[in-house]
């Protein structure tokens, strides 16, 4: 049997199918979205807590807060890198992820504003509200762009289906 025939007969090797199934996994993508959002939002809440603390915190607590913020941001950066390089989001994944991101940023912004209103000054409150609004707006923009891209692809898919014999 020639190699060409062998190649045609075996078509797609099992190992390749397994590797590609992992590559296109939606679960893996959503896990990274969740990890990134949890890291980023967690870091934001801790930053609000720190900023609205009425008295100066002990050095150890400051170091602990800084460490937690750094860890949260590191998870967010790692997730961003994975989602842009290793597990890029397809159109439907983008829409789903953007909805989750919008929900997470809105909840975090509301929580941050509530904390600042209870614990901080007016300046803290305004700064927290502005920060929350910026992140929520970014998530909304991501959702709008994701939906636009999905609509474009759906239109193209339908047109191609009509053209197909």
């Amino acid at each position: 049997m020639s190699e060409q025939n062998r190649a045609a007969q075996r078509a797609v090797p099992e190992q390749l199918e397994r590797a590609l199934a992992a590559e296109v996994s939606l679960r893996s993508r959503l896990r990274h979205v969740a990890v990134g959002l949890a890291g980023g939002c967690g870091a934001a809440v801790i930053a609000v807590l720190w900023a609205t603390e009425p008295d100066a915190l002990p050095k150890r607590t400051q170091a602990a807060f800084a460490g937690l913020i750094a860890i949260g941001l590191a998870w967010a950066v790692l997730a961003g890198w994975v989602l842009s390089r290793r597990r890029p989001l397809f159109a439907r994944d983008r829409v789903l992820s953007a909805r989750i991101a919008l929900a997470a940023t809105v909840v975090t912004a509301v929580a941050g504003v509530a904390l600042a209103a209870v614990r901080g000054s007016t300046v803290d409150l305004v700064a927290t509200a502005a920060g929350g609004a910026v992140f929520a707006a970014a998530a909304m923009l991501a959702l709008v762009r994701a939906r636009r891209r999905r609509r474009e692809l759906l239109r193209l898919r339908d047109a191609l289906r009509q053209d197909a014999p």
């Binding site: 939606l26 994944d93 191609l160 053209d163």
Partner: protein, 177 residues
């Protein structure tokens, strides 16, 4: 754009079942190209898998679904080149080529697929590659040029030289073109 384009668009949308169809459709030609370039079927398996991973990761950013075939082979070529570069340190210089344009020769359509495959191993990398893409994968001249990153005229000149070399090689083996 046809079925290829439709499959690519479905993949870009995130329809997971479309990936299986896309890979089933394009793996045999991709594997055959890689196999022709590196010689070993086992190595071809590994490199084809590496190329497919790169394809899946790059697919959301592909703006022209109808250009999938040349894009796929460009990625496969890059994977093979990276491998060869690691294996042979001097591979980069071997990939450089002059851009002289020569008219198509009279051998077009004379060589059969079997003859080409039989003589491929004896050809240098550049000539082998252009024969695989043009004759075995049936890519149009413009797509070959896109994959190889050279002008169409250069593809023609490479094809001309490759066919000559292949014909000489086959003649030595006792075949008649």
């Amino acid at each position: 754009m046809g079925n290829d384009g439709l499959l690519v668009v479905r993949c870009q949308l995130g329809e997971r079942e479309a990936f299986r169809e896309l890979v089933a459709m394009w793996h045999p030609p991709l594997w055959r190209y890689v196999r022709g370039m590196v010689g070993s079927p086992h190595l071809a398996d590994d490199l084809a898998q590496e190329a497919w991973v790169a394809v899946v990761r790059g697919l959301p950013r592909l703006r022209q679904p109808e250009r999938f075939a040349p894009w796929l082979f460009t990625i496969a070529r890059r994977t093979v080149t990276d491998h060869l570069r690691q294996t042979y340190k001097a591979a980069e210089t071997a990939m450089e080529e002059a851009t002289t344009v020569v008219a198509d020769d009279e051998l077009s359509g004379v060589l059969t697929t079997v003859q080409i495959e039989a003589g491929l191993a004896a050809l240098p990398l550049l000539e082998r590659e252009v024969l695989i893409l043009f004759h075995l994968e049936d890519l149009p001249l413009a797509s070959c040029a896109e994959v190889l990153g050279v002008p169409a005229g250069t593809v023609k000149s490479r094809l001309y030289r490759a066919r000559r070399m292949l014909r000489d090689h086959l003649a030595e083996k006792g075949y008649e073109a």
